[in-house]
Symmetry: C2
Subunit: 395 residues, 2 copies
């Protein structure tokens, strides 16, 4: 199937369009300002979408959605097709079941494809973990060099993870990461698959990968959910999922769009701040949180548009609530990174009733947390079943 | 769909059958001896299998194969339905895409279901990692207490993993693990989901979960492969996959059965030893290997039957070959634990040509290796694009 992508369209002024190439990775050149960057999105010839596109199973490999994605030049690693698991009255969309065990693989199949389409000699990404590893994996699979500008604060297991795919990994002080990214883009011509702008725009193609979450959920439930709760840092995932449901409505397949909720660490929360203050986007100061993967100072337009356009909200969750949610889900056989449970924690924190199914996106496996590898282990000397029984009863 | 399982059948003498319950977790009581335990397998009313069973997509949740499995009383975590990824002329079956990121989830859905069917007050497992965590996850999901007898030698990240699901975890010296397992089974009535016998029998239902790998591969390829290479410790996975293909032939869906290859660390290798010496099963001394997940002293009948019944072989791979295979696959975007690449390493080591597709099963994510979290990280001070270029060129 062929891509039906037509143009890049500005979120700052939807009447402004640009050719698909080059991807405008520094936002809309006409509507962005020094204080507010305006992302772009990809538009399609929706009238030409085959009527049978949504008759298929929601399995792996985004190529099954090719008409509604930019051209997928990068080979698949089998991303997507993740299970939807019912738990205690809600549905958990288990994104830890992707090729590098996070939702980021959906984005990187698309953005590394963009790098190939743009003829770039490599890709570059600034990331504390999941995004960098995923970009490195897709670049490796596509035969493109990758440079990952990593964070010294990432957990030890994540440091190994990010370096496993053969990318060039440079660890620099936090404030040097984005200047170095721009330096590499400007001088080496590497294609950036993470943000470069004053408020977040990221890659214009990125959320296109995420919208496949909506397609899958729609097929898995056999209907549109009432609400979707997603862990949110820059809120690209949330925007993508919202856009996917908007497309389903536009295609006449669905009658409604779920309310979408940006679930952010209370120590940050730029989308919640922007929505609360009526700002187009916000930049916040961040405090301490174990949820390093979604602890962002810089927000963007996308999350605000998704929340406001859907009648959703921003939800702040503190580390106590996140830890509780993490333990609860792990106690049901689902072990996620603490950032990964923010959607579920946000749903519990909000305490609202919905008239229809609720989906909480769980983004990433538990192996990526700060405490991984730090668990104290004591060797028991010749325990008997009585010791075991006492231990079981003590719990 | 209802289970069509009928009886447990002895692999020591296939004319001997036993009721489905209780699961004979200490092997066949009539044909086992003090030197050689005989596993059992599950038999089915194959004539009653619905003709449409294999018309479906190979998605997650083993319940889709319910007629050909023992009753699935334990809730799903969305196991199975893993992608088959083409790489350099072979197919990688990516079992890191399961709920606890290894193939073991297929087994534990079935064995924890057996514990529920048997009315056991809990499950107990002796494991160095993946099996223990998976059993804990499925027990947690099913609301059953779990006791994991862990190994002090497991990597730090795996220690966190095994403890994440709320099980009672006891770490004991290696030689105390199996006596304690028996002690807990005998005195607490916990259902054992790992081995208790002199040569390996494991749980009689376990390989039934693994055979769904064969069903999926058959549907994903649209045919039977010529060969399957699997990482092998006790070779339960290999036996299960072989049995799945034998069933497809029996059901008239396939005309052949692939040759199956038990790929073992050269520092161990009980299945290779047994096949080479014509023994029914072997016990070997083990040396040092980073492939701790499949470094087994004790082999069993199952692997030998699968290799000999299919015209396959045992293949020994040393740590150098395993490391090379691991780096090669990670360099293509697929990061597995070193034990997990033994199938691919074995295929490369064997160097044989096959008249049809070759499938290498990759069992588990790279997060579970000994070196995870040990990667040295140096922070670069104010690097420029020139430093990055030099670094890229140096690689």
């Amino acid at each position: 199937m062929k891509s039906l992508a037509t143009v890049q369209r500005s979120l700052g002024d939807p009447s402004l369009t640009y050719p698909l190439l080059p991807p405008l990775t520094r936002g809309c050149p006409q509507t962005g300002t020094d204080e507010l960057a305006q992302p772009l999105e990809v538009d399609y010839d929706y009238d030409a979408v085959p009527a049978t596109l949504f008759d298929q199973e929601p399995g792996p490999d985004l190529a099954r959605w090719a008409p509604l994605l930019p051209p997928l030049l990068a080979p698949t690693l089998g991303e997507g097709g993740t299970p939807l698991i019912e738990y205690d009255g809600v549905y958990i969309k288990d994104e830890s079941r992707n090729p590098t065990w996070s939702h980021k693989d959906r984005l990187n199949r698309v953005t590394v494809s963009a790098a190939l389409a743009a003829g770039a000699p490599g890709v570059v990404v600034a990331s504390s973990g999941n995004h960098g590893a995923s970009a490195a994996a897709y670049a490796a699979r596509a035969g493109l060099p990758a440079v990952v500008i990593a964070s010294a604060e990432s957990p030890p297991a994540v440091q190994t993870f990010v370096r496993s795919y053969g990318a060039t990994v440079l660890t620099v002080a936090a404030e040097q990461r984005w200047p170095l990214l721009r330096d590499i883009v400007d001088n080496l011509g590497y294609h950036p698959v993470s943000n470069q702008t004053v408020t977040h725009t990221g890659h214009p193609y990125g959320p296109e990968g995420y919208k496949t979450v909506a397609y899958e959920v729609f097929l898995q439930l056999g209907r549109v959910p009432a609400a979707v709760f997603a862990p949110s840092g820059y809120a690209e995932l949330l925007f993508g999922v919202w856009k996917g449901f908007v497309e389903l409505r536009r295609l006449g397949l669905a009658g409604s769009v779920p309310a979408v909720f940006a679930c952010e660490p209370a120590a940050g929360g730029p989308t919640t701040r922007a929505v609360a203050t009526g700002a187009p986007a916000a930049i916040v100061e961040t405090g301490e949180s174990a949820a390093y993967s979604i602890l962002c100072e810089v927000g963007g337009r996308r999350g605000v548009l998704a929340v406001e356009g859907s009648g959703g909200a921003g939800v702040l969750v503190d580390d106590v609530a996140l830890s509780r949610a993490q333990r609860e889900l792990a106690g049901a056989g689902l072990w996620y990174e603490i950032s990964g449970v923010a959607g579920y924690a946000g749903y519990r924190a909000l305490g609202r009733e919905f008239d229809g199914p609720v989906v909480c996106i769980a983004t990433s496996s538990g192996f990526k947390d700060l405490g991984v590898g730090q668990t104290p282990v004591t060797v028991s000397d010749n325990p008997t079943w009585r010791d075991v029984q006492a231990e079981v009863e003590r719990r």
